[in-house]
């Protein structure tokens, strides 16, 4: 038990050294780490409660997605049945009760209709199911129902795209290190450190982004226009003016109902400069979009066209000349900021499913800084108190335990840095508690040694027995601790999780420092000095 081969001693010290080395970058302020070229080393992330920032939880409206799917299928069926040489006449098509049903006029074509409907379904999931079930009811009616596997797959798909779209929209804001992850099946977690006013972010994420390009009807006097009153073939759409003073009534412009282009035709939009060096927005269309845009600009030179996002005009520039290459530049009264905003709005794509904000937390930077400060002070005071207490109680063995506790703090930090774990305020509390309990192992061991000494055992035997008997108890106690830690990690959210991470890492590392490391120190001392009496 007390025999430590040289290789073991060396590897124990190496592990501890590595622990200290990996912990150091996390203990430095950003600037210092930069100075010593440690930027590449993994560091502990600070949770939002410490760094300040916004935490938003979004949930997808899956019912809306199912409805969308039904509508898309309805469109598909309508075109598919009309396609080809033999048209299949259908009627009474409806999408109520979560299913698509339609009536086939000629019973002789029923089989062919089922065939065509089936051809529109796809395999979903691993069990060979289709995403839609096609059935014949009352011998003339075909009913298509989305299968569970089909809905799941569609939700899954939509969530992946939605997460990407949200990421793109937030990246476009240029905030530092945002976290955007899918949580569970239908949720997206967004964390943006440093963000104090999430309104802009929320507005950006919440946009469903239906982008259309329409011609402006130049014959309508904008002053007489109000919502819902437009000449036939036109519609009145709001054109918000960011620069207008508050209280100004909303202005409207009349646009043709028919869109010349949709958002699908736009590949990219970006910030650029016009020939005078003024901020402008560049547009890039795909092949068919480029053609459509070329035709529209040839026919309507000198007129205005409107870019309409979700029924509201983003911008209505004048067509100076026909644009043939599929690349356009919009310039005018832009500032760099407003041009950038327009570019973001144009390119950030369409959300496949509506998202709702179900949780929102914002922590101010002062509170975060105050919490870090308080946490560090509390940790230092707690450590000093525990160290003094151990020292006066166990003497030399207390020194060993204290060394173990201090090293344990470093090792926990190192493991957290390597795992890129996030330190939260409850995590700091976890640290303070780990300080308090890592010594429990040493208390158990030392008390056991005391006990064995009292029973009249020799020094070596007491120490050996102390470590052996206490190790079993320590193992059991740690198992129990790990059980509650794991439950917190799995079921807990936010603060509970942050606490559990530190707790679990602390349990594992404390076995190494408090048991193995102190045993090595004790064994070395006994071997070197062969004490005839120990004070414990």
């Amino acid at each position: 038990m007390l025999d430590f081969p040289r290789w073991k001693i060396i590897s124990i010290w190496l592990v501890l050294l590595a622990g200290v080395a990996f912990a150091i970058p996390s203990l430095m302020p950003d600037s210092t780490a930069h100075q010593f070229h440690l930027d590449g080393m993994s560091r502990i992330n600070l949770g939002l409660d410490l760094s300040g920032g916004s935490h938003l939880l979004l949930e997808a409206d899956t019912a809306d997605l199912v409805k969308q799917n039904l509508q898309k299928m309805e469109d598909t069926i309508r075109t598919e049945m009309r396609r080809g040489d033999t048209k299949i006449n259908i009627g009474d098509i409806s999408t109520s009760n979560g299913q698509l049903s339609f009536f086939v006029r000629d019973v002789a074509q029923l089989d062919a209709a089922v065939e065509r409907a089936r051809a529109q379904t796809q395999a979903a999931g691993l069990s060979g199911q289709r995403d839609w079930n096609v059935a014949v009811v009352d011998s003339t009616r075909i009913v298509m129902t989305p299968s569970q596997a089909g809905t799941d797959a569609s939700v899954d798909n939509a969530m992946k795209t939605a997460t990407e779209v949200v990421r793109k929209r937030i990246d476009a804001l240029g905030t530092k290190e945002p976290t955007i992850v899918q949580e569970g099946k239908t949720r997206i977690l967004v964390e943006v450190p440093g963000l104090q006013h999430p309104d802009q972010l929320k507005a950006l994420i919440g946009k469903t982004a239906k982008l259309e390009f329409k011609m402006v009807d130049m014959n309508v006097d904008a002053a007489t226009l109000t919502a819902g009153h437009a000449p036939p073939g036109d519609e009145a759409v709001p054109y918000p003016d960011a620069g207008a003073p508050a209280g100004t009534p909303m202005r409207y412009i009349a646009v043709s109902r028919r869109a010349i282009l949709s958002g699908d035709d736009l590949i990219d939009a970006g910030l650029s400069k016009d020939e005078n060096g003024q901020p402008a927005v560049s547009l890039k269309f795909n092949a068919s979009g480029g053609k459509k845009f070329a035709r529209a600009t040839q026919e309507n030179s000198g007129k205005l066209f409107a870019m309409i996002l979700d029924g509201s005009v983003l911008s209505a520039p004048k067509i100076d000349e026909p644009i043939l290459g599929g690349n356009a530049i919009i310039h005018g009264s832009f500032t760099t900021d407003s041009a950038n905003q327009l570019a973001i709005a144009l390119r950030s794509g369409k959300l496949p499913v509506a998202l709702k904000f179900i949780e929102e937390r914002t922590v101010g930077p002062q509170l975060g800084a105050a919490s870090i400060h308080a946490g560090v002070i509390a940790s230092v005071i707690a450590s000093v108190a525990v160290i003094v207490f151990m020292l006066v109680t166990y003497g030399r063995f207390g020194v060993y335990a204290n060394l173990a506790v201090v090293l344990n703090i470093f090792v926990i930090l190192a493991v957290m840095a390597i795992l890129n774990a996030t330190l939260t305020l409850p995590g700091i509390a976890g640290f303070v508690l780990t300080i308090g309990t890592a010594v429990d192992a040493n208390v158990l061991i030392n008390e056991r040694i005391r006990e064995e000494r009292r029973r009249g055992r020799g020094i070596v035997q007491s120490v050996e027995l102390g470590y052996k008997e206490a190790s079993r108890t320590i193992f059991e106690a740690n198992t129990v601790h790990a059980i509650s830690g794991l439950i917190m990690l799995v079921l807990g959210s936010g603060p509970v999780k942050g606490f559990a991470v530190v707790l679990l890492i602390g349990i594992c590392t404390s076995v190494f420092t408090a048991v193995t490391f102190t045993r090595m120190l004790t064994a070395g001392w006994i071997k070197r000095h062969r004490p005839t009496e120990i004070h414990i």
Binding site: L57, P198, D199, A203, G206, F357, I358, E359, E360, R361, T362, V363, Q366, L367, A370, S371, A374, A378, S379, A382, V386, F389, M390, V392, T393, G395, L425, P426, I428, A429, L433, I435, G436, T437, D440, V443, L444, E447, R450, R455, G456, E469, R472, E476, A477, T479, V480, H481, I483, S484, I487, M488, L491, G492, S493, G494, P495, V496, F499, L503
Partner: protein
């Protein structure tokens, strides 16, 4: 150097003798806590109730009534105010706005912050949180599930590792610890939020830790002294582990005390819960769970003999 010894060597305190009193006290505490929780209820934070919480730090302590009427004037529903950490900082809780559009909660937060900033110059808004009813429901569910699972899993662990009596006694003692902690929160009306769930789970962990150490010693002694009377054996085990129990509890209390005083207001409720939990847990380890083993009919003859013959030469207790 003379080392500090908090507990003298070879104590022989008759803990088991006191168990009638201890059980009585435990029952009273548990019932009182349950009644408190039932009647007064817990002061749930927005985590569990849903709603909007704004934490504001004022330059000088505001009058609570004034503050309330300032907020009432905005017609944003009934505000619940409580100081947070010091008299300058208030946590303002409001129900969710009735409008459900995306901007509704932001408008609410903005209007309250705007009104307060106009009336109290220099006010700083530390935090703003909005939790929808759906999320708060899940948080309650997961929190409760976590606590129950933890207690249950650990009781099962004790049962598998030792005899069933250990499982039952541990379960009863932990149940008591959790209820008393909840009772404390009902009594003080401290905010009960997600942090406190973490605290309760940790209390469970520590309390179990204590009980495992004592149970482990009881088990060890049951193998060693197979003819000893169970009462004497439990007293012996509790006394033998007493120095460790007291040392560890004191160390943790020292660390938590530092956290309570210097750790800042956000963690105060958390730390208070933990400190109470450590005291209650230590009490229930010493007085409740081990004595309960006797009432459950545990006896040394139940255990199998130790496979290896116990510790060598002179394993018997000296003195």
């Amino acid at each position: 150097m003379r080392l500090l010894k908090l507990i003298p060597d070879n104590t022989n305190i008759g803990f088991v003798r006191l168990r009638a009193w201890a059980f009585g006290l435990t029952a009273i505490l548990t019932i009182a806590a349950a009644v408190l929780v039932g009647v007064r209820g817990l002061n749930f934070g927005v985590d569990f109730k849903g709603g909007v919480m704004i934490e504001a730090r004022f330059q000088a302590p505001p009058s609570e009534n004034m503050l309330r009427s300032d907020i009432d004037r905005l017609h944003v529903g009934e505000a619940s105010l409580s100081t947070f950490g010091n008299a300058n900082t208030y946590s303002i809780r409001l129900p969710l706005p009735t409008a459900t559009d995306e901007g509704a909660t932001n408008r609410l937060v903005k209007s309250v912050q705007g009104a307060l900033a106009a009336k109290y110059p220099g006010v700083i808004f530390n935090r703003a949180e909005t939790v929808s009813g759906k999320v708060s429901g899940e948080l309650i569910k997961n929190g409760l599930l976590a606590v129950f699972l933890a207690v249950f899993a650990i009781a099962v662990f004790s049962w598998i590792r030792y005899e069933w009596q250990f499982g039952v006694s541990t379960f009863v003692a932990i149940f008591h610890d959790v209820l008393v902690t909840l009772g404390f929160f009902a009594l003080t009306r401290l905010d009960f939020d997600l942090n406190i769930v973490a605290a309760v789970l940790t209390i469970i962990g520590y309390s179990i830790n204590d009980k495992i150490v004592i149970d482990d010693r009881i088990r060890e002694n049951m193998r060693k002294y197979r003819q000893m009377d169970m009462r004497a054996l439990i007293d012996l085990s509790v006394n033998e582990t007493l120095p460790r129990t007291v040392m560890t509890s004191l160390t943790i209390l020292l660390a938590l005390g530092a956290m309570l005083i210097f750790g800042g207001p956000v963690l105060r409720g958390f730390t208070a819960a933990m400190m109470l939990g450590v005291v209650v847990g230590t009490y229930s380890s010493i007085y409740v769970s081990s004595s309960l083993l006797i009432s459950l009919g545990l006896s040394p003859q139940l255990t199998e003999p130790r496979k290896k013959s116990g510790p060598p030469d002179g394993a018997e207790r000296v003195g």
